[in-house]
Subunit: 245 residues, 2 copies
């Protein structure tokens, strides 16, 4: 089965600044997308596009060019236009997260996400070739998203919906939380330490250990941290043996 | 109460390309953020920063500059560093969505989100000033997110967690779905039409109306669309009166 990354094409219509084409390619590749289609770019290929693409020059090298949007999307069974504003003609509107879910669940075989000109977006005629319109939620007083930034957000949402963010990379961390049993041992040793060095008067406890517990419960110790603190406390206990006897 | 947009500062450490500072300001403003702090920028102020900021030059004009990270974050009660890779020293890691939730729920008064150099990110010493490290999930074979693109994603997640995306703008659309009652009337009239023009043999229905219902149930008609179809069908019914009599 084709993955979402094979199925989805990013289509840029009449892009004015070649730097934006390069930056869009870079944005796509960071999120595992690779199919770029260009409709009538003003200036492409271009050195500026390659510079801004950084290591994503393969996406640029393999992009397809078309003379109009209809041609660019003719093999697609789902075409999503993007727009920065609510149009006069109401069109079914979705936001990026909803769009990503839709793309991942339905049995589409070729999906186009279409971005218009930097200055004026897609024309009404172009929007009418789209099944629906995607709008990125923005500050209502300033919705001027850069083209590549819009591509980045949408590709990011697609990447997340396919990859489970809770398991991808974060668990590689190998951070192991300490058991409650070891924490109890820790509190006992720490309290003993406090007494040995005369920091803690058991007759006037003043919620000291209560506060200590609140602190470490909130912080949740990793095993490696616990080992450090445990070693430190053992050392204090060892050094204060005489005081205690 | 201070809003999340007042509380959060974006901190850029030793940014090399002034264009990235401008693009970051633009990314921030599209998502309603405005507090920008710069630590030792290589080249700022700069014409390129202003050009790339587009209409977000107010964010640049009001940014604060510092000579080191410690100085820049000293008033903050939550400092989140960003990193493109899992570090040798394990550090509590979160992803942007989790980070946005954390920021919005806790009673922090001043939050810094810190972005390192384009080439090498934050140093280990700088990361150790951070409470936790945020990593944007990316293609494991190409994680080269542009600085402003990373700022864009994180600000977008913060904007979404504060603004309810399902109600912000999409309901301004004024699209009204048609009632089931009117749809039943529509199906009845359509079937009548089919019969009148000889398209539909009631003795061999072949699931025609079943398929029609499936189609329109999936599509869900808006009132304005229903009016068009209804008018069309009425017209056919009117024209075929003689045939039927």
């Amino acid at each position: 089965m084709k993955s979402i990354f094979d199925k989805v094409s990013i289509v840029l219509v009449s892009t004015t600044h070649p730097g934006n084409i390069g930056a869009a390619a870079r944005a796509m590749k960071t999120m595992s997308l690779k199919n770029l289609r260009l409709v009538n770019p003003l200036n492409f290929p271009s050195a500026e596009a390659s510079v801004r693409a950084a290591g994503a020059d393969d996406v640029l090298a393999e992009c397809k060019q078309f003379s109009n949007l209809e041609e660019a999307i003719k093999d697609c069974d789902l075409v999503i236009g993007t727009s920065a504003r609510i149009r006069g003609i109401p069109w079914p509107m979705i936001h990026p997260r909803e769009c990503a879910k839709k793309i991942s669940k339905k049995a589409y075989s070729s999906i186009a996400i279409v971005f218009g000109r930097e200055s004026s977006g897609l024309s009404n005629e172009e929007l009418q070739l789209c099944n629906m319109v995607l709008k990125i939620p923005t500050n209502s007083e300033y919705n001027s998203l850069n083209l590549a930034a819009a591509v980045q957000i949408i590709c990011y949402e697609m990447y997340l919906v396919v990859s489970d963010i809770n398991t991808i990379e974060y668990e590689k961390n190998n951070l192991v939380f300490i058991s409650q049993e070891k924490m109890e041992q820790f509190y006992k040793n720490l309290e003993d330490c406090f007494i040995r060095i005369g920091f803690y008067d058991t007759n006037k406890p003043k919620k000291l250990m209560h506060r200590i517990r609140r602190l470490f419960n909130r912080a949740q110790l990793y095993e490696s941290e616990w080992k450090i603190l445990h070693g430190f406390i053992s050392k204090i206990q060892e050094k204060t043996k005489n005081n205690h006897n």
